[in-house]
């Protein structure tokens, strides 16, 4: 029996996964037949979507402004969040700031920030400062502190200690060591992580629009709410092009920085 199981191990694993999927579908009460019987709705939707109404982009300036707003949200979020994350990472990394207890508290705070879903954060900020791009920026700052704080702490802890030690042996104090030994080595990682995070934050900034974050995401949400699918598709294409440009730009710059 055992050898039989071992021989056909992969088939049994596949079978188990299939049974698991079936049970999950049952549990969620999903009616798969709808997928096929309602497929004509998909066609109707596509009919309604095409051709996309690109006039909406040129028609009123608000779309252009909201694209700028989304970019600004991601930019400010990355910049301010990155600076705060940097301060956090200096405290959290155990090779620069030598207070173990405070360091582990900072690490704990960072992982708590990372665990909080951005839905919760935006809901809280919308209550605090009202809906709009400002709430979106604050949410992005918050999320950025979590992600970049961890990345920065790791890259600070992975720095080669020899140059800092040799500087210290010549009598340099903490700040001087930081400025001349730690900082120059840390800068490439700092900037490339910022660029990476900007790319992610652009996506987050678009998505947050739905929950009152403003920007192009909010405009798209409005267009879909009032069933203007032709406008919505034009906006989606706009967003795709925008995000592709940002992604490739960020990748290009990062490669360039890391190679130098």
């Amino acid at each position: 029996m055992k050898t039989f199981l071992m021989e056909h191990k992969r088939w049994f694993q596949t079978l188990l996964v299939l049974i698991g999927m079936f049970l999950l579908i049952q549990y969620l009460k999903i009616d798969i037949t709808i997928l096929f019987t309602d497929f004509h709705y998909v066609f109707e939707l596509i009919n309604e979507m095409f051709p996309p109404n690109f006039d909406v982009i040129w028609d009123n300036n608000t779309i252009f402004n909201s694209i700028l707003q989304t970019i600004s949200m991601a930019y400010l979020g990355t910049l301010i969040g990155g600076l705060i994350a940097f301060l956090f990472s200096i405290i959290a990394s155990n090779n620069i700031f030598n207070f173990k207890l405070i360091g582990s508290i900072a690490k704990w705070v960072l992982s708590f920030i990372r665990v909080l879903p951005s839905l919760v954060v935006i809901l809280i900020f919308v209550v605090a400062v009202g809906p709009g791009p400002f709430a979106g920026v604050l949410t992005i700052i918050f999320a950025t502190i979590g992600t970049l704080g961890k990345l920065f702490t790791e890259s600070l802890e992975n720095l080669d200690p020899t140059s800092a030690q040799s500087l210290q042996s010549t009598g340099a104090h903490k700040l001087q060591t930081f400025k001349y030994a730690v900082w120059p080595e840390f800068v490439p990682a700092f900037i490339s992580n910022l660029l990476y995070c900007f790319d992610i934050n652009m996506r987050v900034a678009v998505g947050l629009g739905i929950f009152g974050g403003g920007g192009i995401g909010y405009k798209l949400y409005l267009a879909m709410r009032v069933l203007h699918y032709k406008d919505a598709v034009a906006l989606i294409i706009c967003i795709i092009i925008l995000l592709l440009i940002i992604e490739n730009l960020s990748n290009y710059l990062r490669h360039k920085i890391l190679r130098n």
Partner: protein
Amino acid sequence: MQTSMFKKIVQIVAFLSFILVTYFAMQACGFKIEALQKGLKDGMFFLTAMFPPNWTDFKSMVAPALETLALSILGTLLGSLVSFIIAIFAASNISNKWVKLFIRSFISIERSIPELFILLILIAAYGLGALSAVLALMIGCIGMLGKLFADAIEETPTSLIESMKASGASKIQIIYYGILPDVFPKLISYALFRLEINIRLSVMLGAIGAGGIGFELDYAFSMLQYNRALSSLIMVLILVIGIEQLSAYIRKRLLINQI
């Protein structure tokens, strides 16, 4: 002398434009310090209003939390399957060059569409419910997993594929007996990583109408039942942290098995 002067001017101009860009960005976002000060006070009041969590609500939160969990697991499973099939066509060592180019660009376009909008489109077609949410999560996987899987497949040693080809194996045999066993641990660890993302996503999707714990959270917020909101928030945190720990554990085991 000239060059150092030039360098200094460039630095100053770069710094000034940086300040200018930041200023305009702040204007565009309505970034105001006073609003932040006032908001901080309101926010603190609001946070204190959330405590203590409504413990009696916990019982009614278990079913939605399980629903969210089931949603994200099913979405990740289906998404991984679809992504693997797509990744085969996007890997340069088995696929045709033009097909690869086409599929790769499809993957990166998909990556640019936020999952929330995929869900909104699906809701327009299939209505509110678990079906739309699972489909949205599944499609959302393609952008990330399709790329990662394809890269993993491309890393399989060429000697393996060549020797199978030489012994007369068909494409499907090469994929099933050669590539799949080679990349399987990687696939699992990427899929687990995606599961961590999907559990957060499905909380967010729930708020737009996919149901589950995200809906409970959003509903409690909009009904101003802050204590109830806190209990659903705690449920969300339990889910997210639980999945993260589980995924880290399984990935560690995989790594040990591999060595």
